[in-house]
Each structure stands twice: as structure tokens, then as C-alpha cells.
Symmetry: C2
């Protein structure tokens, strides 16, 4: 039997595989409720996907497109899955500029990328969480991380730091605005970044910052 | 009011902040059940933590120590949280060599690092999931990723790849063995790596690879 080995020989650091500036998010919603299937599927169906390319498989969901559109759709999926009293985690990987990426599976509809904003901007609730930032193929990545973490402290949404992550807390709207700022800022400074974050709502002990 | 800004000026790529070779894992268990609190707390309490430094806060849990001990404790937390029929995600960040790390908050008990193995090796169930590998401060990271992905194909636990991740599938024991091999291999080749993975069990549609 022949095996489908991967070959990344054509990829090199600093040279994005996609020339279109595609940002993508891969994410999992985990509502800790017996009703998790209905909660996840209802939320995913409610998101207006006309400004992103989207695919849901049995492991996770991916959105690809313009950075503004990807964050808009991702926030919509999370806030639409919110149920009063239901503890839920969102785990998301947002990435841009991967040398192994390609100019496929995307939409770059240019007008009105934040198509879900009107519906989602008034759904607000407290969240806590963490994020880690991986600017790839750069020697000066700690300086880039320092800059965006300090901006988060100024905004009041970075609440501390621990091993392997920086803590987040605040309204879901403010935290998403900040995470989009992080991607936008780092994406201008390095050719390939990954932002990994986890957000929790309805935490049993309360959203202690 | 003075703000606690971060300063990473003393950190530089390629120079681990810890000189002790500490590996760490930060993780979240999300059992999608109304009983999630009992499931998580029962599992966390059952893990023998004598070979790792451990801390659980309201966001996540972290283990730090020798690589073998960290993987042993992490696998124990996951398999102890397994309940028949309960869909659950494990999201974990495993990291070693971060320039911002320090020689604190760890244990490096040298004997018998896999202290949970005897109890956990016979708890087996199918999982699916995904992982992404971030060798930091290296220009040749795609080559390192290619090598370990192809080993996973040989072992039968790497089942495909998508945007922003490589798919995993198999018995929880085989998948954890592979993830430990990945960390071990990459940790020898680069000074700082991050391995991010998500595992799912009791998937409603079945553990389709």
C-alpha cells in the first residue's frame, strides 16, 4: 500500500504559501451541556457565511477569508452558541501566512466583511480565557508579543499571565475586538503568525479576572 | 494607577528562559454533559501529581516537569475524565524552551516519571483530533513538521491534514504515544517548540478517521 506522505520541500519560512493574504480560523465550541449538539448546530447555522469560505467536519470548523470577515464570523458562532447558565469553551486557532498554505478554499468578498456585526454587536456577556501568540520565522518574536500584550493591559482585557499563555477577561465584544487587533498588528510585522485562544463563559466560579 | 506592563527585553529567540529543560502542558477538559463539574474535578483529583508541578485555576490546568512525566499526567487527566457516551474535548498546549520561561514552578523528580502509567495503560477508547506544531525561532520549521507528520502516517495515527492542522485518529494510548514522540523529536531539533492539540472522544457521528 502506498502512503500519502506529506512533502513541505517547496515551503520556506517567510514566504506565505498564499499570495492573497488569506486569514483563517479553525475552532471548536464545547458547550458543557447535555444539549450540546443542538447548541452547536443552531449557532453554526445562524452565522452568515457569505463573506468567508467555511467547512465543518467531525473534528472542527474552519473559516477563511479577509481577516475582518473571519473574526466577524467566528465571534458570531460563539455568541450565537451562548445560552444562559451553560458553561462553554471556544478554542480557536487563527493563522495567516503559513508557508504551507495555498490560494484555495477562500472567499475575499471585499464589501461589508463584517456582515454579522449588526446582529451580534448587542449580544454581550463576560468571558475569561487565555491566548498565546506565535509569530513564526522571526527572530524578534518576543518584542512583538510584548507590544500587543501591553496594549491589552491598556484596554483592560489582559488580566495577567501564566505559563504558556496570557490571561484574558472582559466583555466578549471587547475581547474579540482585542484579539482582532492582535492578529492585525502581528500580521503586519511578521509574514506568518498563529494566534491560539480559549474563551470560557458561564464559569461556575464566576468570571473572576 | 500604575500598570503592570510586561517586558520581554531580556528574552531572545533560541535561548530558553529555563535552563532545566522543563516541559509544560496547559490544558482544558470540556465534557459536554450537565455533569461536567464532577467529571473534571474527579479526573483531576485522581491524577498522581508527585512527578509534576501542578496548578489549576479558573481558566485551565498546568503541569510542569520532565517531558515523560508531563505527558503521563496529561494522559491520566484525560482518560480519568472519560465517561461512556460523554462527548469530550481535550485542548492542550505542550511547550518547551520558551525564552520567557524561568527556572521556577517545576519538579524534576527523576525516578519513575510515568507514575500514572500502570493505572492508565489499560483505559483505552478511540479518539479523533488535530494537532499543530510550532517550532519557534527556526527557519527550517516546515522540514521538522514534515518529518514528524510522516512518522504519524507510518504509525497510522495521522489520518489527514486540513487548514491549520494535521488530523489525528486512533486509540487514545497510541495517539498520546505519538504526541509524546512529536515533542521529544522536535525538542531535540529546536530550542523552543509549541505543540497544540485537540482530542475528541464519544463523537456523535462516531470516530470517523
Amino acid at each position: 500500500m502506498s502512503k500519502n506522505y506529506v512533502n513541505y520541500g517547496k515551503c520556506s519560512a517567510g514566504k506565505p504559501g498564499s499570495t492573497m493574504g488569506i486569514t483563517g480560523a479553525r475552532f471548536n465550541l464545547s458547550p458543557m451541556s447535555d444539549d450540546f449538539i443542538a447548541i452547536i448546530l443552531d449557532a453554526i447555522k445562524q452565522v452568515d457565511l457569505s463573506k468567508v469560505w467555511a467547512e465543518t467536519d467531525h473534528i472542527s470548523t474552519v473559516y477563511r477569508g479577509k481577516e475582518e470577515a473571519v473574526f466577524d464570523a467566528l465571534k458570531a458562532a460563539y455568541v450565537y452558541a451562548y445560552r444562559e447558565g451553560v458553561h462553554m469553551t471556544l478554542e480557536a486557532t487563527v493563522s495567516k501566512g503559513c508557508p504551507g498554505d495555498s490560494d484555495s478554499d477562500y472567499t475575499l468578498a471585499l464589501e461589508n466583511p463584517k456582515i454579522n456585526k449588526e446582529q451580534t454587536q448587542n449580544i454581550d456577556f463576560p468571558v475569561i480565557g487565555k491566548f498565546a501568540l506565535y509569530p513564526m520565522g522571526s527572530d524578534n518574536y518576543m518584542g512583538t508579543i510584548e507590544k500587543v500584550v501591553n496594549e491589552g493591559i491598556d484596554r483592560g482585557v489582559v488580566t495577567g499571565s501564566g505559563h504558556y499563555g496570557t490571561n484574558l477577561g472582559g466583555s466578549v465584544q471587547d475581547v474579540f475586538d482585542y484579539l482582532e487587533y492582535v492578529s492585525n498588528t502581528v500580521g503586519k510585522e511578521v509574514s506568518h503568525y498563529v494566534s491560539q485562544f480559549t474563551l470560557l463563559c458561564n464559569v461556575p466560579e464566576g468570571e473572576v479576572k
